[in-house]
């Protein structure tokens, strides 16, 4: 069975640009979460979606937004990119809408110049 897939794997943007990151959860998983991992740090929670509804949001500015589609895939959008947005963006899927076992994708590495 396919695991969590994310695209693109790597991308380079310049300050002020916009980026869209995509995630396909494991088949049958209805919950998708997004985390930001800065080099040398633990992942930081950005959003959790379940059945297309936002269930939780971390301490990130409104420049960050996300949505979940009817097929449970998800997009993370970041507007007006800053240098500090450079990080590995991890998507995780889970069966339930509570904070159970998370299955992480390999991430999208964003570099902002």
């Amino acid at each position: 069975d396919a695991g969590v897939t994310q695209s693109p794997t790597h991308l380079i943007k310049t300050r002020g640009q916009h980026v869209t990151l995509r995630c396909s959860p494991i088949s049958g998983h209805k919950s998708v979460s997004w985390y930001q991992q800065v080099l040398g740090q633990g992942p930081q929670f950005i959003f959790q979606y379940y059945e297309k509804e936002e269930r939780g949001r971390g301490n990130f500015p409104d420049r960050f937004s996300a949505r979940q589609f009817p097929n449970y895939s998800s997009e993370l959008n970041v507007n007006a990119l800053l240098l500090g947005d450079s990080a590995l963006y991890l998507c995780a899927s889970s069966l339930r809408d509570d904070t159970g076992e998370l299955f992480f994708g390999e991430g999208s590495r964003l570099t902002v110049l």
Partner: protein, 110 residues
């Protein structure tokens, strides 16, 4: 608020034991442990729930002290495959995502 992990790094020889600690200043509902190898996705190890029992995963086990808001991960008779960065993630309430610590890097040498 992020949990605090200690130590930051540990180096072991195969067969040695290690303990990784995770503490929080907030009341916790659950503690989760993940391991991430360099360049790979974090992989789930176990969940400890408030009021639950000590969990085990092969020779890796963990405990959750609710009164102290602390969890410890025990690596017993370490193997080369145990190398990686271990993260504890905590949640206060269901459905609000995890707060991860900064990680503990474990290096197991032959």
């Amino acid at each position: 608020q992020q949990p605090v992990q200690s130590p930051q790094a540990v180096i072991l020889r195969e067969g040695e034991d290690a303990v990784i600690n995770c503490s929080s200043s907030k009341a916790l509902y659950s503690v989760h442990w993940y391991r991430q190898k360099h360049g790979e996705a974090p992989v789930f190890l176990m969940i400890l729930l408030k009021g639950g029992e000590q969990k085990g995963h092969e020779k890796i086990s963990a405990s959750f002290n609710e009164k102290k808001q602390q969890s410890s991960l025990y690596l017993t008779a370490s193997q080369l495959s145990y190398s990686g960065t271990y993260f504890c993630g905590t949640s206060k309430l269901v459905r609000i995502g995890l707060s991860f610590g900064a990680g503990t890097t474990v290096t197991v040498r032959a």
